[in-house]
């Protein structure tokens, strides 16, 4: 069991919130993928807190590509990217040492690592590590795009406010790339922003739901058992901090459906086979059917709330009251959006390189 994802294309995450750096090693990349530092930087910027709805901790997110890129292209050998940590103050965390923050991994990590874990700022569990995932996405997403595969994610629901679903993914992806806040319906965007801010002002946090779509995935990707497209996507998606549910297609809204409603009827269209509806989210029997992939994730409310909470010191079992100081994201959803896109890109790139070989993302082979 490992902190590595993937079979043909693998990504290994490392780092702790208050250590020198976080980072990732990508192995199995096609050689010849163009690597744009601007693209990586721009995606890292989207993961930054955006003021009101985010955290006040300022992250410059400088990064360094240590290996695997030469003359602006991937070499095909392992690519290591480092994102140094800056502006870290460990003092707050010291006073909490041994206190199990509710909803956090402090206690379960203690049971696994016997107290040797770096407890400062969540250590290896910190959402900070998603920066390395986003950086990897800055390489993979454009490479998939050159192959005609586009990925987009938005907040589908937050604090009880609903965004509309993807209707025309291509146009919706374009709109999301320009949007200051990752919500499709501008009026919902305003209300969600306000609700998140209000929760933060009250020292509380809110949960919600994300939606992701992918267009251009060729039919025939996935395995019938175990390495189903749903299973492997979910495997990776549950790594995103706070994700507690993954649903494909219209699963979450159709628990009471009948087969005659849920079945997506096939028909021919311009020489190819399509479905009339897409309740199954582009996947039949674990394998892509050529329709857009569509899935949603339920994200729990950020466990860091300013409201005092009862807890225990797991080192001696004594009771305690914990008040988490500092500012934290009242919802992780806005910052999770670029992470969702990156994780989705990673899973698809792994499947596609496995299916079509290691040159699949090579630029001059496209």
């Amino acid at each position: 069991m490992r902190n590595t994802f993937g079979q043909n294309l693998t990504l290994t995450l490392f780092g702790e919130s208050h250590g020198p750096a976080v980072g990732a090693v990508l192995d199995g990349l096609s050689p010849g993928i163009p690597v744009s530092e601007e693209e990586i930087a721009s995606r890292l910027a989207r993961r930054r807190p955006d003021g009101a709805a985010g955290t006040a901790r300022r992250e410059a997110d400088r990064f360094q590509i240590v290996s695997g890129v030469f003359s602006g292209r991937t070499t095909g050998t392992p690519l290591c990217i480092l994102i140094p940590n800056e502006d870290v103050s460990s003092s707050d965390y010291e006073s909490w040492r041994g206190l199990a923050r509710p909803g956090h991994a402090d206690y379960s990590a203690f049971c696994k690592y016997h107290g040797f874990e770096d407890y400062r700022g969540g250590g290896h569990f910190s959402g900070r590590l998603t920066a390395a995932l986003v950086a990897a996405g800055g390489i993979l997403i454009p490479a998939l795009s050159a192959r005609g595969i586009r990925i987009g994610s938005h907040i589908l629901r937050c604090a009880g406010i609903q965004d509309r679903s993807f209707s025309d993914p291509g146009a919706d992806f374009d709109a999301l790339e320009e949007a200051p806040f990752p919500v499709l319906d501008p009026s919902a965007a305003e209300r969600i922003r306000a609700a998140v801010e209000a929760a933060g002002a009250a020292g509380d946090s809110v949960g919600g739901v994300s939606e992701t779509a992918v267009t251009g995935v060729p039919a025939g990707i996935g395995e019938p058992w175990f390495d189903t497209l749903e299973g492997v996507l979910a495997h990776a998606l549950f790594s995103i901090p706070a994700v507690k549910s993954v649903s494909f297609g219209d699963a979450s809204s159709m628990t009471d459906a009948k087969g005659s409603e849920w079945n997506d009827l096939f028909r021919a269209e311009e020489g190819s086979v399509v479905t009339e509806t897409n309740h199954n989210g582009g996947i039949n029997g674990g394998i892509s059917n050529g329709m857009p992939l569509r899935f949603s994730c339920i994200v729990k409310p950020t466990p860091s709330v300013a409201i005092p909470q009862k807890t225990v010191d797991f080192r001696d079992g004594s009771e305690a009251v914990l008040q988490i100081r500092g500012r934290h994201d009242p919802s992780v959803l806005p910052r999770a959006i670029p992470v969702l896109n990156s994780v989705t890109a990673l899973v698809l790139a792994d499947f596609l390189i496995g299916r079509f070989g290691t040159d699949y993302l090579r630029f001059d082979s496209i």
Copy 2:
């Protein structure tokens, strides 16, 4: 990408619905696990159609352990179990050849395997292969139980009718073992049975939700990233035919929750650390916290419905109307319950053997 699950304990599924047999190879089992053929047979029997709510196809489910068991105990070398297919008539399926059954894998499999796939009765995609999973569970579930780990699953909702959630898992597990139909509330059981029958009589099918709980899992199992307990469980669970959503704890019912509601407060109880609530389903940061695991799966309505459906012949793109004859389960939920238990056992055994070594399930070491 593979039809194999697991890292330390692996299970490889093989077989086609209308071939000589389906089966599985389990590798990495502890030596010395008692293997009871009665236990395996009893679990296979629970997977059988139970008359009205099931399919009329009669499955004797004889099985043969080909390797890996000696003198009634696992040897620790790969265990192959074969379940011969019987009573298979391929004639129906021949007439559908090339027609994409809506909601089924016929078309996506054609795209992957280029027409070389065995199309009869769903071939390798058939729910028939879950018999091999259930047989594996017949070895793993008692072995985990000897370690104090118990697993139970029930229908939480079907055809719009709700069962109660687990309240006292131990007693609920006992009740489910005796129950003729896997529902906790007897009156809900009657109504669900009736609704499933009615759907079948109308040539239609119904979806629903399962709930699974596991008690006795030690704290500290799982990885922070990628091989999170949620991620690996979901990876495996999405292999169960018709599962389209996996949710942990109270995720599916609490999308609008606040952090102050969702956080599970820690307290000391008789020298150990417990949580007051268990909204997180026994997992924090991807790692078990010692509370019962709890997750639910949304199961789509069986795609095989008797109602005629428009489709295409994917070999030439011509339009067609498909009427699926024969009797099929109007809901896969009742038969999915023992599969859920087996898949859960497989995932946990893999994690535990990785964590504690290959002798973890050895009988005389317990």
Copy 3:
């Protein structure tokens, strides 16, 4: 750690010498590979004892393909092949129970499996399991051959008698396919046969060296670190019972060489790059360079000798004298030759499917 080989194409071995069957599951095969039962049977026949130089135990080697083949072609889903055991008498072995046969795995297996292992006839360690490897080769070798990749092995040295090395691999492969005994030089063949017989008559056994060559492997296969072509080939080759050394190119005969002698100079020939010599065995930096692969394995003398040997009963530490009755191969080399070819095919098919995608061995794509 597993009894499975491969990453993209995997083979899992199962079975015990005195159980119902041995077999293998191959997962990740390209769909559409023609499967000839005659070809498999013919390769299994080459693994049979050939009278004087072999064992008297008669093996009919019937086999059954349980899954993964439909209408004479691979489907692309897991292929399970079963080889039932016949003519097994467990009585001899019972009398040896607990006695550590020198050079055999009885004692090390006892330490690993705690006495739960099937001790009859070597159990899971039996050379009998190589029949399943050879059967897999009966599918893979012709498929690679259709891609222009040919594999041949012979006895390079046995009982102190030397065969010549491959000189013209294509012609040598043709000759070996016709040869009654896998030696290139007919006079060496006669002398090796006689020496093996003589060793058997004396109740003793002899070791030796095999040589394998592969032509047609495209340049660029292998990884710089860890999954080097040498490393992965050696990993698999050491599974062949009695192999204790693997050498590439001229390694074993050139330990005292100088760089100026060992370096293979590159030159252009008909538009492609070749080397003048091939001391490196077709591999530079872990990656194929387009020249024939060439490696040799040292095979220890069969540990089963009729001469009485001192040993201990590992159950209680008592001393004992063991006399292994029955007839055993005085050299495993003749029967190891088809196994070497199969294991080599397995490794190369795994690399090539990883490099070029899952359709690489699909017949109609060739």
Copy 4:
């Protein structure tokens, strides 16, 4: 196929000779292993060129532990170690671009990576990456030692001069730790040093043989098929640049042996089972038998020789004469010794953590 080694404990190598740094990520380490920067530095120093017998390129081998260590102990989360490159001049290499250095990976890498590879100084193929392996050994070797497992390697033969084999491994290991040159027999040491120097002075290079022994490995480690102890060790050892042969026990010197000579007879000694001889190198049937592991590697002569060599420019097929300037190790053997120890430690730690669980190397559990 990957640049990662291991199943339970994994090591991923990254970096290029002339990039910013080389490094490794270790995942799956037990928490609580003491990490001594002095120990790592001391092992890195042993890998440095030692003047006459080494290269003139000066390597300071500073290093930084980026993650996975907290308060001087491993945390159990991924440990990334970086070794910055210094003193690199790319100008020499530029003039060779496109010229296939004989015996090197330039041409095979070009076939794999299509010219996108970093060609400077061997790029990702450079022996420089072994520094990261040695650094990992600086953590693993002391941790295994605390478990009673000791590893030692020496030059067994070089330039035709033979060292003695291990006779009393414990004392021999102690002697090697103090020795300025890794040879057991002091007079052989002098002659080997002189022969290596002479080869270098002549612009040539020499090959040889290493020998490694490991004491204290518990019996029962390894798998019967594929993940045999021999197979996995060989898999990793072939990553060490220039290794072209791996032999266990007395394989290389006993190709003509008889079973009655090669078999290691078992006997009881102070309540445990031992063998009288150890021709099998501590491994029977792929599994450790409790005797010392013993294996040897043939290392080809360094391919970088100053003597002008004919070659081709693989970009256009034109002929060229290449003269490799700069100073290079006339034998890689002296510097390969600490690498051999590290790779051996990595393989054993992976097996042992798999066998006994993730806490196996935890310091306070010892």
